[in-house]
Symmetry: C2
Subunit: 528 residues, 2 copies
């Protein structure tokens, strides 16, 4: 069903000799799919094609790029059940989850297509000439965002569709006008191949240039570093571990010409439960929290891996234990991820004063590759004295830290590193009372959630899926939502450029009817 | 007139023992002003005060921050003739230039104050809840930009007012809501002290927190590296040499928590003269170009240091030589800059095939510290084979490269590294004919100028004073114009936050009347 070959522009390629297998974590067998490891020459060919394609693709109109993205969405649907089946096989994730993830991926592509069709995203700014101004006349200056150049995208293990080959990084880079070279995640190469075929087909059908998209396979790291260091690559999108993301960042900033790396590396996503809310709806919070920690076998970067509540002597701890002990375990994405999960939990438990607080019953008769959810618990002094306890363990686990006072909560909040999200459960009154906690948290994260849970990242204009280091390598961006497009653009301005030579977005006649900032006024009118 | 002391929040400090002198490049004498070198403890004290102040300053309304910036502008005017006199003494620049630069600095502060008062800059985005949506309800999500934290700013040698203590970096960081710790440039410490006093006074008068601004003096580099490496510093603004800017960048990205460095490091700003324009108005272009190269003794990062024209056998070379030989030389900012200028010119002239094409008459009887404008010339093959010839020599010089064809122009354009600006002189018809040249240039620079010169950077909403590396360390930003504020902000979103707990910019009732993106619609209306 797959050729095992790389997609380099509109051609397939397999010039290497080494291969690797696609693996089924549920059966613990190799799937039937064999993939060639990409060669340095193939990496170079893909990037060179991307650089050539860039000169054509950057000139495509918003409507043309939108048609391309719509076509990708359609081809993903056309990939039908085969895509779902293969993706389930490779990820061990259930069918409903993968179907939902495909719909999310399709909708994300459509969201960027709509953004392009509307067109105002280019942030057009026009200051018209003031020839009579003293002491010096003002020239005519017009500003907009343009595409930055070819982008390298690294697929994520935990979202084989939504954060991989046709995921948010690819969709936003293509929307920006940048060709994309994807390195498929080796945990789901056959899924990646099907998605890559869909993008290639969409590019051909909508008249996009050869090289606007390439897809490379490798189960090693050298090709990724080669990509990031290639002089024609202008930015990098990545979702995955701190170790891998930081390695790409270090490679990118030490290039002769440094480039931005947008690495979303996950976080522990602290949850604070305020006393009155805990009292009023402890059971509901306990159930919701347990479900969020174990959803998708805990394999989300927004997994709420840290829970802080006050010791008020009520029954919340018991409720939490009861609810957590109802959660199911599951097959993890790869044996490597399961190993890391088990050793992360073991590391925490080896610290004196950390205890196993609640265990999923699935631990009793678990098959291999099966992760058993476990809730750990410690006290504030041990938590504060062991910074590693606040680091992410990727999987269905969390650290519960009961504390004695509001001040202790603030202290923990103040000592947080950067996270993607922070959550507070509280009644209306106590949220006011804890305004200082919220003030701290908004400085530590990209998204503050009230009375909810961080899993479930809405794809919309207002989303920030990002946060201060070490949750990402660039706190000033988001990897989900329409603002993600600006990761792959830069502003340029034109001074005294003749009308007909200007990009259509900046001409006097506003044929696109976009909003523009004209001499300080936000308007979609023409300039007369 | 100055105490020679550091300004640390609302206090003066001079706990060190080492001192340095302010120098007058015109008289080649030390001025009477003596400054203490900052100690590591003082650097730390300033940053700690900034971090404390941040918790108060970030909560100031747009109107309150605007009042502060207006007050800084007023205090700069109140500094009166003393500021002008001292600045002229320290820089060797003429009075009219410094008066103009003060007005530019004042207007820049007012521009950011107006931006804050209007308020839409926060890019508010609101996606309201869809509780009935299937399969999952959509939560209420609201997005805006918030301040990133304390910022370190490095004053520039060549703009003692507009790019220094109260310059664009400081103004945009303060506008964003970030306290600023400035390291004064050692070439104009007395000027910096007067400006620092004005900012401190404005902060006190408008009720800003102690620590919102500090000013440190040092004629070495250790304190600067200490600032950039300090864990409480969240971003860096810098204007100056490639060497210094790149060193700060390297220090910042190798921190345990990397931070962004916005270093504007200058460029050679190529100018392309197309044949028909050269024929029709060669004299005018020659005069304008000669003036731009030698303006301010060539000490601008937008100095047009590279001129490419086609050999059409007309009299443009002679016109250019005639015009350039009318230009005046001048006293450079520091002996170090003059030395670098002279050795840069000597380096180029040492390359076989590079010749002295035109010399300012000021070379004949120049005093010390005096730079003599010189136009160099070479041919395309020598230019292409010696990449160092396209590097900036800071001062009143430029490299003229006559070429044989349009293709040769395109070839030079394609081989350009990143620059702040590129300029093309052409008739309306030939600009169309050279559309491919313009397409290349917009990928190489932050600003494309038609039939003008790059010196003179308009302070406005549409300006991009930035460009691809090595002209800056972050091509995605600008250091001049209102968009400069986003260097010091990051987006955050609030999910299901109660109305009254939201920042005022994001509440249903739009009391600030700002433009917001509400469910995809750009509007300044309330949410009902």
């Amino acid at each position: 069903m797959t050729t095992g070959q790389h997609i380099i522009g509109f051609e397939n390629s397999a010039s290497g000799t080494e291969t690797f297998h696609s693996y089924n974590p549920t059966t613990q067998q190799n799937n039937g799919y064999v993939f060639f490891k990409v060669t340095p020459e193939e990496v170079n060919a893909a990037v060179e094609k991307a650089a050539t394609a860039f000169q054509f693709y950057r000139k495509k109109s918003g409507a043309e790029k939108a048609d391309f993205l719509y076509a990708v969405a359609e081809e993903l649907l056309n990939a039908g059940d085969e895509l779902i089946t293969v993706c389930c096989e490779e990820s061990g994730l259930p069918k409903a989850r993968i179907e939902g993830e495909r719909m999310r991926t399709v909708n994300q592509l459509k969201m960027f297509a709509e953004l392009l069709k509307e067109g105002s995203w280019v942030d057009a700014r026009i200051d018209t000439a003031l020839p009579e101004r003293a002491p010096l006349p003002r020239p005519d200056i017009r500003f907009m965002h343009i595409a930055i150049g070819p982008v390298a995208v690294f697929g994520a293990s935990n979202f084989p569709l939504a954060f991989s080959v046709a995921g948010g990084d690819t969709a936003s880079a293509l929307a920006a006008g940048c060709p994309v070279v994807v390195k498929a995640h080796p945990a789901h190469p056959a899924t990646s191949a099907l998605v890559g075929k869909a993008i290639k087909s969409a590019a051909e059908k909508t008249g996009m240039p050869d090289g606007v998209f390439s897809l490379l396979f490798d189960n090693g790291i050298d090709s990724g570093i080669q990509l990031v260091k290639h002089p024609f690559i202008k930015a990098v999108g990545f979702t995955g571990s701190y170790k891998a993301g930081k390695a790409l960042f270090d490679a990118a900033v030490s290039r002769p010409v440094p480039i931005p790396v947008y690495a979303e590396m996950g976080s522990t996503n602290p949850v604070f439960i305020l006393p009155q809310a805990m009292k009023e709806r402890g059971a509901q919070i306990a159930a919701g929290y347990s479900a969020a920690v174990t959803l998708g076998v805990g394999q989300f970067c927004t997994n709420p891996g840290m829970l802080i509540h006050q010791n008020t002597g009520d029954d919340f701890p018991q409720l939490l234990k009861n609810e957590f002990e109802k959660t199911p375990g599951g097959v993890m994405l790869t044996p490597g991820i399961l190993n890391a999960y088990n050793s992360g939990v073991a590391h925490h438990l080896a610290i004196d004063g950390v205890e196993k607080f609640a265990l999923s019953p699935s631990g009793n008769a678990s098959p291999d590759n099966w992760a058993t959810p476990v809730l750990l618990k410690t006290d504030q002094s041990i938590f504060s004295n062991n910074p590693s306890l606040s680091e992410e363990v990727f999987g269905p686990t969390a650290m519960v830290v009961p504390v004695d006072s509001k001040e202790a909560m603030l202290d923990i909040a103040n000592n947080l590193s950067g996270h993607l999200t922070a959550t507070v459960h509280g009644t209306a009154d106590e949220l006011h009372e804890y305004k200082d906690l919220l003030d701290i948290l908004e400085q530590k994260v990209g998204r503050v959630i009230i009375n909810g849970f961080p899993t479930g990242v809405e794809v919309c204009s207002a989303m920030v899926h990002g946060g201060p280091f070490p949750s990402t390598t660039d706190s000033k961006t988001t990897s989900v939502g329409t603002a993600a497009i600006y990761r792959f653009t830069r502003p340029v301005c034109y001074q005294n450029m003749p009308q007909q030579m200007l990009p259509v977005e900046l001409q006097d006649k506003n044929t696109l009817h976009i909003y523009r900032l004209i001499n300080g006024e936000n308007t979609n009118k023409d300039i007369n």
